[in-house]
Amino acid sequence: MKSFNRRSAVTMAAAALLLAGCGGGSGGAGADGGASSGGKVTVEWWSIHNIEPMLGVWKGLVKEYEAQHPNVTIKMNAMNVENFKSKLTTVTQSGKAPHLFHTWGGGVLAQQVEAGLVKDLTADIAPWSGTLSPVALQSYQVDGKTYGVPHDIGMVGFWYNKKLFAKAGIDAPPATWTEFLDDVKKLKAAGIAPIALAGKAKWPGHYYWAYLAMRVAGLDALKQAAETKSFENPDFVTAGRKLKELVDLQPFQQGFLGADYDKPDGQAAAIGNGKAAMELMGQWAPSVQRDTSTDLGEDLGFFPFPAVEGGKGTATDAFGGGGGIAVGADAPPEAVDFLRFISQPDNHRKGVKTGAIFPAVKGTEDAVTDRHAKLVTESLSKATGYQLYLDQAYPPAVGQQVNDSVAELIAGSKTPEQVVADITTAAKSE
C-alpha cells in the first residue's frame, strides 16, 4: 500500500508538471512582447534557415545587431519548412504571431493580413524600401501595402545536362514550345529520359502548367483569375492541352509518379546522376543536385521556359519566388529596425555570397560568385514581368488545388478542361 501511494504521488507530480508545461507552451507564442524602445526588448524570430550556410550568416548578423543595440535580444528559432508551417499555423490560430517570421508572400500572407496578424510596414520602411528590388518586393504587397521584407528572389527555369543534350544531337536549348517538344523526342530516341519530375511532391509539376498559362494567357489573365475567382478562360485550357502534348510523349523518368524531389532517387538526383536530361526547377536546383547526387558543374546549363507560339504572354516573363520576413502585428519597433539592418547592402551581400540566397537588394548582384547562380541572376535581370508560384500566390486552398489538378493531368486521370473547372470550384469556395 505504501509503495502504491508513493507511485501515485509521482504520477500526480508528473501530471502537474505536464500541465505546467502546457500552460507555458501556449503562452510561449512570443507575441506578448511589445515593450517599446528604451528598456530590454526581446525579439522572437522564426526562420526556416536551420542549416548552414544561412544559419551562420543570420547568427552573425544577429550578434552584430545585438552588439550595436545592447538592449535588444533577438531570439532566433530556426526550423525546417514543414515544422515551421505547422507550428505557425497552430500559433496563429490563437490570434498571435511571432515578432518576425518567414514568409513566402502571396495568398498565405494575404490571409494572415486579413486576420490582423501582420504589421503594415509601408510607412515604417518607406525611408529605405527603395533599396529593395521591386520585383522581389511585389510578392509581399497586399492591396498596395507592404507586409514583408524580401531577402531572397529567384526564378524557375530548365536546368539541363549539356552532355546529354549533345548526345541526342541537340546543339542549342529550345526557344519555343515546338522546339522543346522536338528536343524531348530526340532525347527519347537517344534512349535518355528527357525530364525528371517529382510526382509525389506535386509542386514541381505545377510549374509546367503555370509557365504554360503565363505564356499562353499572359500574366494579367492569371491575376484576373484570382480576382474574379474564375479560371474558366479558354487560354488556361489551351495551356493544359500543351502540357498534355508533353505528357503524351512520356518524357518523365521511370516511376516518376512516386518520386520525391530531394531524396536519393528523386528528381534532383536523377539529373545529378545523369539519368535524366533536364528538370524545371528553381534557383536552388544545383545545390539540391549536389546534396543528393553529384555536382554536374560545367555540364549543367540553364534556359528559360520556352515561348509558346501565338501566346499572349511575353517570353521573358519569369516565374518563381524567394523569401522574406513579415512582422507580427504587436511586435516592438526594434523588429522592423532589425529588418532595416539585415537589408543594408553590405549585410545582404554576406548571405548572397554563400550562394544560398539571391540578391533582393539593389546593387548586390556583384556578390553572386557561383557559376550556376550567375545564370539565374542574369536571366532574372532580363525579366519583363514576374509571377509568384501559383501555390503561393493564391489562397492556399486554390494553390493546393492547382498542384493536385495538374498532378492529375500529368497522371492522365483529368482532362485540361477538368483541371480548369476544379481550380475554379476551389477558388469560388474561398
Binding site: T11, A15, L19, A115, Q254, F256, G258, K263
Partner: protein, 335 residues
C-alpha cells in the same frame, strides 16, 4: 499461465473483502467515515488523470466539433463564418473523401483476411518447441519496434523502381515480369502500402496470439488428443475457440489502426499518386495544414471520430460482450 497460478492469483482478491469487513463493518458511523475517506482518496487519485483527460481529449474533441460547422482558415481567434452542415455535405460529395472510405474498407478487409491469419499461423508455429525459437520470435517482433517513419523510409528505398531491393529480388528469382513501380503506380500503390503495413504490424498480433495460446491449459489439448482428435480438429475445436478473446481484441486493434492510418502512408506516398493511397487522416491533414481549411478538416476529423466511436461501441456491445462479461459480473459479485 498455468491453471494453478491462475487460481492462486484469484484467491487473495476474493479473500480481501471478507477480511476487510469485520474491521469497519462493526459500527455504521465508522463505516461512513471510512467510505468518505475512500471517496476523497479516489477523487484525489483520479483528479490528475481526469484533468488531463478533459484538457487533452475532451476539450479538443469539442473544439473540433465546434470548428466543423464553420468555414475557417484557422487564422486569428475563433471562427465566425457559420456554415451549418455545409462541410459535411461537401465531404460526402468529394470523390477523394469517398475514396478514403473505400480504401479504408479495403485495408480493413485485407488486414482481417491476410494479416491476422498470417500472424496466427506464425504464432502457432512459434509455439512449438524448436531450435532458435526465441530468435525467431524476436525477429518477427522486431518490425513492430521500429517507428512508422523509419519503416516508411526503409520501404521507399525497398520499392524504388530504379534500384529498389523489391525489383532486384524478383529479377534474381526470374520473376521480372512481376516487377513493378510499386508506390508510383496508382493501381498497385494500395497493395504496396498493405505489404508495408503487414510487415510492420504482424509481429504485434503474433505476440498477442502467442500470449493467448500460452494461456490455454495443455491439459485441454492433451485431453482432446487422447480422445483421438487430429491436429486440425484440436486447432479448430480447442485452440481457436479458446483464442477467441485474443482474436477479437486483435481484430479490434487492427480495424481502429486502419481507420487512423496516417504516418506510414504519409511518409511512403503522401497519399499519392493522384490520391490513390490517401486515407481519411491524410485528407484531413492536407486540408488543415496544406489548404488552411481548418473548418473542413475539423469536419473530417469529426466523422473519423464518429466512425471510430460507433465501431468501438458496437464492437464492445456485440462482439466483446462475452469477454467483458466476466469482469463486469465479477465486480457485481464483490459489491
Amino acid at each position: 499461465m498455468r491453471p494453478e497460478t491462475l487460481a492462486a492469483d484469484e484467491r487473495p482478491a476474493q479473500a480481501e473483502p471478507r477480511r476487510a469487513r469485520p474491521a469497519s463493518g462493526g459500527d455504521p458511523a465508522g463505516r461512513r467515515r471510512g467510505r468518505r475517506r475512500a471517496l476523497v482518496t479516489i477523487t484525489l487519485f483520479l483528479l490528475p488523470a481526469l484533468v488531463l483527460f478533459v484538457l487533452l481529449v475532451l476539450v479538443p474533441i469539442l473544439l473540433a466539433g465546434y470548428a466543423s460547422v464553420f468555414k475557417w482558415n484557422g487564422f486569428g481567434g475563433l471562427p465566425t463564418d457559420f456554415v451549418g452542415l455545409d462541410n459535411f455535405t461537401r465531404m460526402f460529395e468529394d470523390p477523394v473523401f469517398l475514396g478514403d472510405l473505400w480504401r479504408g474498407l479495403v485495408l480493413i478487409v485485407l488486414s482481417l483476411a491476410v494479416q491476422l491469419p498470417l500472424a496466427l499461423g506464425l504464432a502457432l508455429l512459434l509455439n512449438r518447441p524448436m531450435r532458435g525459437r526465441a530468435f525467431y520470435r524476436l525477429l518477427f517482433f522486431a518490425p513492430y519496434v521500429l517507428s512508422e517513419v523509419i519503416t516508411a523510409v526503409l520501404f521507399t528505398m525497398f520499392f524504388s523502381p530504379e534500384r529498389g531491393l523489391a525489383n532486384e529480388m524478383l529479377s534474381m528469382v526470374g520473376l521480372e515480369e512481376l516487377s513493378s513501380t510499386w508506390l508510383s503506380d496508382p493501381s498497385s500503390v494500395m497493395y504496396s502500402v498493405f505489404i508495408v503495413m503487414t510487415w510492420k504490424y504482424f509481429g504485434f498480433h503474433m505476440i498477442l496470439y502467442l500470449a493467448g495460446r500460452q494461456g490455454i491449459p495443455t491439459e485441454l489439448i492433451e485431453a482432446a488428443q487422447l480422445d483421438g482428435a487430429s491436429g486440425w480438429k484440436v486447432f479448430r475445436h480447442v485452440t481457436l475457440p479458446l483464442l477467441g478473446p485474443t482474436i477479437r481484441i486483435s481484430a479490434f486493434l487492427s480495424v481502429i489502426g486502419a481507420i487512423q492510418l496516417f504516418d506510414l502512408v504519409w511518409v511512403l506516398t503522401e497519399g499519392g499518386p493522384i490520391h490513390a493511397s490517401e486515407t481519411m487522416a491524410i485528407t484531413m491533414f492536407t486540408f488543415g495544414f496544406g489548404r488552411y481549411q481548418v473548418g473542413y478538416a475539423s469536419a473530417i476529423s469529426v466523422v473519423m471520430f464518429l466512425i471510430s466511436l460507433v465501431f468501438a461501441l458496437g464492437y464492445q456491445r456485440f462482439v466483446l460482450r462475452r469477454d467483458t462479461e466476466g469482469a463486469i459480473t465479477g465486480m457485481r459479485d464483490q459489491r
